[in-house]
């Protein structure tokens, strides 16, 4: 009785038991790679923007002492002047010990004691309304301090360009992956149609239009790609979650800070995979049917 009201309908197209599991595996791997590249791009973009934000909130001032004035005194005077400028949260003269600590990884201990080091002031700026390099220079000049202000704009520009490049590369990787998945589906559709030529002719002679036959292929490969895409996305979600859990908010490396939202953003992958497969299967099937004449 149940079968009468809810009959299990066999798909009109016979299954290609040889090719379809392989196609599913290929699509799953492609989706896994696409998801990983998306997570990598998001994390790298986040890192680059984080660095740019941090650079925007800081400035470094190199102070040159006047005749008869020590470098430390000049740096202290500059810090005091800068602390009073609007848009500055904190200004601190860097002592020699701190400057040596910064240089030690690059040049080692041997020459540090004899090396003449610049007198520096580190300035922490207001994140929302940071003071400009011009206003800092003007304040120092008015106070009679001979100094050069570096607002890190050179480095900030590099970081922002890197973030842009990573985004473009990620988009390119996604398009290439989608193209590869589409090509795999198109190939499978052509192979399936060649193997099922007699079935297609029977369907056609029984009144099926080209659109109906193409619809059978697009449904088959769309569902297959959705399932494979889900498998690939779930594997990528697992990998991204592991990175997040193992490395905390910074991921395994500060260069790739993975967030939980990155994991969620992979959820449309099955839908995207299905869409690519639907389009590829439909166009391939219609082209093949028209070629048959």
């Amino acid at each position: 009785m149940i079968d009468r009201w809810f009959p299990r309908r066999t798909p009109i197209l016979p299954r290609d038991t040889g090719g379809e599991p392989w196609l599913a595996a290929v699509i799953a791997v492609l989706c896994f790679l696409a998801c990983l590249s998306a997570v990598g791009a998001l994390a790298a973009d986040r890192a680059a923007h984080g660095w740019a934000r941090a650079l925007r909130a800081e400035a470094t001032v190199q102070v040159r002492p006047r005749v008869g004035e020590t470098g430390d005194a000049a740096a202290a005077r500059a810090a005091e002047t800068l602390a009073g400028v609007t848009g500055v949260e904190e200004a601190e003269a860097m002592d020699r010990k701190t400057a040596e600590a910064l240089l030690r990884p690059w040049i080692g201990d041997a020459v540090l004691p004899d090396l003449p080091l610049p007198y520096l002031v580190t300035v922490r700026l207001d994140r929302d309304a940071p003071a400009s390099a011009v206003s800092l220079s003007r304040a120092l000049a008015q106070a009679g301090v001979d100094a050069t202000v570096d607002d890190h704009s050179l480095w900030r520009g590099e970081a922002e360009r890197s973030a842009g490049l990573i985004t473009v590369l990620a988009a390119l990787a996604f398009l290439l992956t989608a193209g590869a998945a589409g090509a795999a589906v198109a190939y499978a559709t052509r192979a399936g149609m060649a193997a099922q030529a007699a079935v297609i002719e029977t369907l056609s002679l029984n009144g099926a239009s080209d659109e109906r036959i193409a619809g059978l292929y697009q449904r088959r490969y769309g569902l297959l790609a959705a399932g494979a895409g889900a498998a690939g996305a779930l594997a990528a979600m697992g990998a991204a979650s592991a990175l997040r859990l193992l490395g905390g908010s910074e991921g395994l490396s500060p260069a790739l800070p993975v967030a939980w939202t990155d994991v969620l953003i992979l959820s449309p992958c099955p839908l995207l995979a299905a869409t690519v497969a639907l389009v590829a299967a439909r166009f391939t099937a219609l082209a093949r049917l028209r070629l048959r004449g």
């Binding site: 009468r4 009201w5 009959p7 309908r9 066999t10 009109i12 016979p14 299954r15 007699a198 079935v199 002719e201 029977t202 369907l203 056609s204 002679l205 029984n206 009144g207 099926a208 239009s209 080209d210 109906r212 028209r290 004449g293």
Partner: protein
């Protein structure tokens, strides 16, 4: 039976179901398979097409089912030009006809029930709307006990009956059959002839290509003969 083809009265007032004028067709290897064929099948008529092997019977049926297009002359189906029809328009013609192929053309992965239901399913009908019809049709051709059987598990005769059930289940205006009784015994052949005759009485135009001269004689139908690519006898 719940199949509802056109009524005989409608058929009488309709244009010819099939009209061929000066049709020629050939293949690269065998040119001139059909030469200047003129044929009119009035709506509601019943014809047998006979002729020796290689006479062009199957080719003529391929033209009628629009599997091939005439290389010369014109082909009209249901009062409309079909010989030069666009590919997109072919399904509309084919849905008005039931075709029985010599090699059955059954789908091996579908059950007997699903094979018969195929044209209805392709036309977008709901299962609930045709389930009883399909069941009855299978009962009628003697396959009521084999609804779930797949074609590879059926004998040649059973496949033939299944192919016939699929062709007539939609209640087509035209039935074109290529050797429909070639694989069945005399009793079943007589029974199938009765099925075609009852469809014909309801207004369906029937054309059967067959070697079976006895069956053609028993049917009382007009007999056309195709020989050397030319058609003789009957309604030319």
């Amino acid at each position: 039976m719940s199949v509802q083809p056109r009524r005989a009265a409608d058929a009488a007032s309709s244009p010819a179901t099939v009209r061929l004028r000066g049709v020629g067709f050939g293949y690269v290897e065998t040119p001139g398979v059909l030469r200047d064929v003129n044929l009119t099948l009035p709506a509601g008529s019943f014809h047998f097409l006979t002729g020796p092997s290689g006479a062009g019977k199957t080719t003529l049926l391929k033209l009628l089912t629009l599997a091939e297009q005439p290389q010369s002359g014109s082909l009209e189906l249901f009062g409309e030009e079909a010989g030069t029809a666009r590919r997109a328009d072919l399904p509309a013609f084919r849905r008005r006809m039931g075709v029985i192929f010599q090699d059955f053309r059954l789908l091996d992965h579908l059950s007997a029930w699903e094979n018969v239901a195929l044209p209805l399913r392709l036309a977008g009908a709901k299962t609930a709307d045709y389930a009883d019809n399909v069941h009855e049709m299978l009962e009628w051709v003697g396959l009521g006990e084999k609804l779930g059987a797949r074609p590879p598990a059926l004998s040649g005769g059973e496949k033939q009956r299944l192919a016939i059930a699929r062709a007539v289940v939609t209640g087509p205006e035209l039935i074109v059959a290529d050797e429909p009784t070639g694989n069945v015994d005399a009793v079943m052949a007589g029974r199938l002839l009765k099925l075609f005759q009852s469809m014909n009485r309801l207004g369906t135009t029937v054309l059967i290509a067959s070697h079976d001269a006895d069956l053609a004689a028993r049917s009382g139908a007009t007999v056309l003969t195709l020989d050397g690519g030319r058609l003789t006898g009957g309604a030319a």
